[in-house]
């Protein structure tokens, strides 16, 4: 006789088998003709440039975290907005405290300068007048990877 956990165990077993059987069957059936192009990393049809281990600016994470907080806030506030009138002033106060704390967090980020985005300053190409037109060189634009 299966207990509740036994059913879950059977479920896990089937899930593992499903993956293993599918992979092995595909390995047996499919033709294997690798070429150089096929083995390359797929970048929307372009040839891959450089290493995939690119360092991302840490600000992206800060922005992502702030986004996450306010995203979750909406999820919590919509049900509150639907029912708070039934609870009278206390219902309003509970939501207000929540919003105040969120506002404090927002003020903290703002004041500490986490919302300032350090923008790159590209150096525009400068034409030097003394040089003749034939060997006019445009300095390569410096691209800062942010």
């Amino acid at each position: 006789m299966l207990t509740e956990f036994g059913k879950i165990f059977v479920f896990i077993l089937i899930a593992i088998l499903f993956v293993v059987v599918a992979l092995i069957a595909a390995k047996i059936i499919r033709p294997a003709r690798p070429t150089h192009e096929k083995l390359l990393t797929y970048e929307c049809g372009e040839n891959p440039e450089g290493s995939p281990w690119v360092k991302f600016n840490i600000r992206f994470y800060v922005v992502a975290l702030i986004f996450l907080i306010f995203d979750v806030e909406v999820v919590l506030l919509i049900p509150w907005a639907l029912v708070y009138q039934d609870y009278g002033f206390t219902g309003f106060a509970v939501g207000a405290i929540f919003l105040l704390l969120l506002g404090l967090g927002m003020a903290y980020e703002w004041r500490k300068g986490d919302l300032e985005w350090d923008r790159p300053h590209p150096i525009p190409p400068v034409l030097k007048k003394s040089e003749t037109d034939s060997n006019l060189k445009i300095p390569k634009e410096e691209i800062e990877v942010v």
Binding site: F5, Y87, T90, G91, L101, L104, A107, Y108, R111
Partner: protein
């Protein structure tokens, strides 16, 4: 419609300390934002005011025993159990927080990062809130949540001075170990919930009393949950983070981790085992546990392993902070024995031990911090002949270390005495002898520091180390109780005796 909200507002009268901590956390952040980059000196005093007010609310709560945020659908059990036992530990946490704030005012390490003092004190308050919920939570969900609140704050605090390499190392090691431990614990909680169908400890106890459960899954889940508690109290197989984190973190934070976080972990462990597995309490105060898991042998095994490992590893340490880390592991082992007795007497011994351990361990860390402020190192060789440069600090460190060993007339003796009385009273003579032998081992590495301080000639003649009046007062505030409680210990014994009552038992 009104009902759920009413329960929350009804509980606020029992949650005054927690509410006070939360409000002061918000105040600290706001003041920090308003002040900007200057005038950060006011922050520790706001923190101290908050701690005193919180302490007042906790003392007001003594004697009450009630559930806060009650869930009526599962037999009127609540998320938070407010009782004297929890309040005793809350008081220990607040007391250690006060000392930590005082330490931080004079710590060079913390002074260096003056631009982030607002975060520092608000993180301490966040950690305190987590610990105060930890000591009184009676629900697996709240247990997990509060442990995470404590852990996340302490990960950041352990690596608070970003410039220092060993700070960052400590923080990273802590977060990796901590993440693993809490993951394992969460797995255990999920299994326990799967068996019992409820997360409330009191409700689980009712189900266990009726005897409908699967023993094997229950044992596995409880051992997994113990991993999380063992990590917090640094019990033996889960202690590996302790030396590295204690050595790397700023000394004020190391002291905080060794007292407050450990006290909260112990309170949680005692509450978890007692509330979940108790059957009856005998006339003589001995607990009759349900025969599901042999907690007694399990805890005795863990505690002997913990203290032996802690004491023997401490023998080789040349860094004083690292040595104190191993000694704190060993002390966790002694205190686990108090729980393994499974009697009210054993719990009383733990309560006495913690109050005394607070003064002696914080004191030792404070002296190490003051000396490190001047000579910039905690290596034991740097302490050669330091008694001639600063007699007061050397003598106080000697007193704290002797008290940690447990020699009379210091308070450490009283702490150990009550523990051994509880052990002998429960006829656990063999265990008591092992603990006693461990104490003898610990004598060696504590006295070794004294030898370096008083008997060894310094390699280079250094200048005298002087400390300010404020530091002297803080030092005396920890030094005097060591002698006071060593000679006149009736008040703390009575205080502990009145605080052993858990809600419902």
């Amino acid at each position: 419609m009104e009902a759920p909200l009413k329960y929350i507002f009804d509980s606020i009268q029992y949650l005054k300390p927690e509410v006070a901590v939360s409000i002061f956390l918000a105040i600290l952040v706001t003041v920090d934002l308003v002040l900007g980059k200057k005038n950060k000196q006011v922050l520790p005093y706001i923190a101290l005011a908050g701690l005193v007010i919180t302490g007042y609310f906790v003392t007001q709560q003594f004697g009450t025993s009630a559930f806060a945020s009650v869930q009526h659908n599962i037999g009127n059990f609540g998320l938070i159990a407010v009782d004297s036992f929890g309040n005793y530990f809350k008081l220990i946490i607040i007391l250690s927080s006060i000392f930590i704030v005082l330490f931080s005012i004079s710590s060079i390490e913390i002074k260096q990062v003056f631009d982030r003092h607002g975060e520092y004190y608000s993180l301490i308050f966040g950690m305190m809130l987590g610990m105060m919920l930890m000591v009184s939570s009676a629900d697996l969900i709240l247990i997990y949540l509060s442990i995470e609140l404590v852990s996340l704050s302490s990960y950041v605090l352990a690596g608070f001075t970003k410039q220092s390499l060993r700070n960052s190392e400590a923080s990273l090691k802590y977060i990796i170990y901590g993440g693993t431990a809490s993951g394992i614990m969460l797995f255990g909680i999920s299994i326990l919930y799967g068996i019992m169908g409820t997360t409330n400890l009191y409700a689980i106890n009712t189900i266990l009393q009726n005897g409908a459960f699967q023993p094997l899954a229950l044992i596995i889940s409880c051992i997994l949950i113990f991993t999380g508690f063992g990590f917090k109290i640094s019990a033996a197989p889960f202690h590996f983070w302790t030396p590295d984190v204690y050595e790397g973190a700023p000394i004020a934070i190391t002291a905080y981790l060794s007292i407050a976080s450990k006290a909260a972990g112990f309170a949680l462990l005692i509450r978890f085992i007692k509330v979940t597995f108790i059957q009856t309490i005998g006339e003589d105060g001995y607990w009759q546990l349900l025969g599901v898991i042999d907690w007694k042998s399990f805890l005795i095994m863990i505690s002997i392993l913990t203290m032996t490992l802690g004491n023997f590893s401490a023998l080789w340490q040349d860094n004083l902070k690292r040595m104190l880390a191993y000694s704190s592991i060993a002390h966790a082992g002694y205190m686990l024995l108090g729980l393994a007795v499974f009697s009210d007497q054993g719990v009383m011994a733990i309560l006495i031990y913690f109050l005394i351990y607070l003064f002696m361990n914080l004191g030792a860390f404070f002296v190490v911090m003051l000396i490190a402020n001047k000579i910039g190192s905690e290596e034991i060789d740097e302490y050669d002949g330091i008694a001639y440069k600063t007699p007061l600090l050397a003598v106080s460190l000697a007193v704290f270390l002797i008290s940690l060993t447990g020699l009379p007339p210091t308070a450490g003796f009283i702490a150990k005495l009550y523990l051994f009385i509880a052990l002998v009273d429960a006829k656990m003579i063999a265990v008591a002898i092992i603990a006693l032998l461990n104490t003898v081992v610990s004598l060696y590495y504590y006295i070794r520091v004294l030898k370096h301080m008083f008997l060894t000639k310094p390699k280079v003649e250094g200048e005298r180390i002087t400390i300010g009046i404020a530091d002297t007062v803080v030092l005396l505030a920890m030094l005097i109780p060591i002698f006071l409680f060593g000679l006149y210990f009736t008040p703390i014994v009575n205080f502990a005796k009145n605080s052993i009552a858990l809600l419902g038992f």
